[in-house]
Symmetry: C2
Subunit: 78 residues, 2 copies
Amino acid sequence: APMASELKCQCLQTEAAVIHPKRIANLELIPEGPHCGVREVIATMRDGGKVCLDPTAPWVKLIVNKILNSKVSVDQLA
Amino acid sequence: APMASELKCQCLQTEAAVIHPKRIANLELIPEGPHCGVREVIATMRDGGKVCLDPTAPWVKLIVNKILNSKVSVDQLA
């Protein structure tokens, strides 16, 4: 979806099709704020592309939890 | 915490103290991958600062869920 500038909402629409987590390099969670009246979830893909995801979609929540809950984190290594 | 370059782990340590969600402009969830063997959560603060958070900390998961589950999303507006 085309990206508006950072001072406005960045997502004009969201991707409905499920994306395989392995294709995602990172997820950006942006709460609503002065810049935009709605919260946004933007995935940066491993190929560099950016895709807006629907924060209410169950598969998006699954991917977020998968990232948060995967086995190892820096605190377990320290 | 000092930031390593994007091609390596970005977090050398994580912030233990709870941060008020209102101070956070966005959250970046980075799964482990070829660049870094551990998953990372990086908060960009409204004042522009960057802070590494512990993905396993309950308060971090609360903030993530708060952003995902707040009332309005672009799909409910469309």
